[in-house]
């Protein structure tokens, strides 16, 4: 972060980072997201849960306008980050995505060295004045990604040569290297084994101190473990949104209840 808004501790807990108003998404003829309204807090981990095809990933991809890359996708409604509409005509999605980083379902390191993978974002956004600054950013990001100790001796090795869990942490390091304010994670652990999953979850918890994290997950246990807030999506609707403990212990909606107890999903 360049200069995080410092508004005192009391405010910090209630700062709304992202707010969505009447968001609708159409994929061609399919109505994928129906009228979603949600406020996502800063420096919190928010989990999106729900059965497959419920639109949680689609909504996540709206937040950094990744859906722009799909021709047939149409988004209406407003999504505001820090009060600014990201679908405003003046917004350049390229600039937005530097501010809203994303980690994908499958680890997708570029076929480049570990160093170049992490340095890619800072390079294209011009975040480093010189080589030594870049080195610093790379080291800092890899440390934030909790992978520095494992790769510091082989920064020139290809990123594709790492194990699955390491690759995903590398991708997280790559995402935080552009100093985003929001970090979107689309089922970041679904391709990982339990041990790697545990490491990544631990990392997500640490990231909370600096970023607003939004994570889409299939696993309710994971949502319960890492998130403070949880949103439940069903058939394109945001059914329920609230504190994670409340959602899991005392859901208000019957559909949420059914999903939590395994009756739908």
């Amino acid at each position: 972060m360049y200069d995080a808004p410092q508004l005192g501790n009391a405010m910090d807990q209630t700062t709304t980072k992202i707010s969505a108003r009447n968001v609708q998404v159409h994929y061609g003829d399919t109505h994928a997201i129906k009228d979603v309204n949600v406020d996502i807090d800063a420096k919190t981990v928010t989990a999106f849960i729900g059965p497959s095809g419920c639109g949680k990933s689609t909504f996540l991809r709206c937040i950094n306008r990744m859906n722009d890359t799909i021709d047939i996708c149409r988004v209406t409604g407003d999504i505001l980050i820090d009060g600014e509409d990201i679908y405003d005509k003046r917004v350049d999605p390229v600039q937005l995505r530097a501010k809203v980083g994303m980690v994908f379902q499958k680890p997708n390191p570029f076929p480049k060295s570990i160093y170049d993978n992490v340095a890619y974002g800072p390079r294209i956004h011009g975040l480093a004045k010189n080589k030594s600054e870049l080195d610093e950013i790379v080291e800092k990001s890899l440390r934030r990604g909790a992978i520095w100790d494992e790769v510091k001796d082989r920064l020139d090795a290809p990123g594709t040569g790492l194990s699955g869990g390491q690759q995903q942490r590398l991708c997280i390091a790559r995402a935080v290297a552009t100093e985003p304010e929001v970090l979107l994670m689309d089922e970041p652990c679904s391709a990982l084994d339990p041990i790697a999953t545990a490491q990544v979850e631990e990392l997500i918890d640490e990231l909370r101190s600096q970023f607003s994290v939004v994570i889409v997950t299939h696993s309710m246990q994971q949502a319960a473990r890492v998130s403070q807030k949880t949103a439940f999506f069903h058939l394109g609707n945001l059914v329920e949104f609230g504190d994670t403990t409340q959602i899991f212990t005392n859901p208000q909606d019957e559909r949420t209840q059914n999903y939590i107890t395994g009756r739908i999903g």
Binding site: Q95, M102, P111, I124, R174
Partner: protein
Amino acid sequence: MSAGLVILAVIAIAIVGFFVGRSRALNSAGGDIRQLHSLPGYYGQAVFLFSAVPALLVTAVWLILQPMMIENRISDMILPTDIAEGSSLELIMADVRRISSGLDTAVVAGALSEPEIETLNLDNTDVRGVLAGVGVAVASDIKPNVLDASVAYRAKTAAARGYMAVVSIAIALVGFAVALSLTKPDYRARNVSEAAIKSLLVLSSFVAILTTIGIIASLIFETSNFFRMYPAKDFFFNLTWNPQFTGGSDLGIIPLLWGTLYVSFVALVFAVPIGLFVAIYLSEYASSKVRSIVKPAVEVLAGIPTIVYGLFALITVGPLLRDYFAQPLGLGQSSSSVLTAGLVMGIMLIPFVSSLSDDVINAVPQSMRDGSYGLGATQSETVKQVILPAALPGIVGAIILAASRAIGETMIVVMGAGAAAKLSLNPLEAMTTITVKIVSQLTGDTEFASPETLVAFALGLSLFVITLGLNVLALYIVRKYREQYE
């Protein structure tokens, strides 16, 4: 009996065998096909195969061996004194074959009778005249020994044909009988017939290998003949190409190789950037509507025969370049030039480069693009820094394949590059290539067994080796690349 008749007879026996075999199988099972191991048709097929295959194989071998053996015998009848200055035993034997087939024609035409031929000699008949009368021209005067040899050749050939007919038909009949005796309900006729079909399939897959062997053998054989007449060192290192009808030619490959590489280089300079950008635009930027128009149009470019490109170079591009560039700039007077051929060949290679690059660019997984866009990269940054580096081996493979195509291309350079072998850097000057010279040396009027003609085979071998090397290299690179994403 002619070979064709023998083959027909064998096939006729085999067809009869099919029906006899089938009905015998049915009879042996008392008309109930459930008693048979295989369907009745398979028993018929088995008999067919037993009758036809061995007999036809023997016939084929016989047809190949017979002329060799007979010629071996006959050539003893030709004395060294019969071989004129500048001639050879092979040429005389060619005459012998010619005269004996001419005698056949004469008999058919009624100009000679069989008894006349037996007593034929040069004193009582004007053999040359008789042969000319039936349309067979014999070049030189016929010597007595040559005539005798021809008559003997004819007699032996006829006798051998007779033996062949007897042997082949006998083998067919034996096969027929054996197969029929095997035809019993528990005989595994289907397995026999399927084994035969399978060997046919195997044989077909040999054709590809035989083609390669044929190419290599013919190239190497004639090239070694060439190097016997013309030193290999001169061929590879001589800097001039200047064939003479009278002999004493300079046949150095260097100027041709230079022309080939220069034209190919110019072609690639045009084709690679354009083809690559077409592929990038189509796979990363174009709307589906643009793609649906441009892609087929590029494919049309790929389907156009090279002769069309050649004509385009000859009647349009060449004169255009000459009138608007070469002459005003004082760089050349000829409409055929390296630039003409290179430019047109570049057009030909655009679809080649773009479709191969399109394949490799599409093979880069979408997750790579997502990763890059997710970090806030623009499309061009993603293409330049993620997709192209990831697809690089595949693209390099495509460019190498395109280079191999350019080097082996013939019609465009024949019609667009010129015929003068030169070592020059001026792209507006006419130069020539290996393929142009292969065509001109092999379609010229020079005698086949002269170095001026045979050099084409040495050029062909060089071309084959160069393109083969490039192809193998490209295949290796592309294969390695595919493994990366599988």
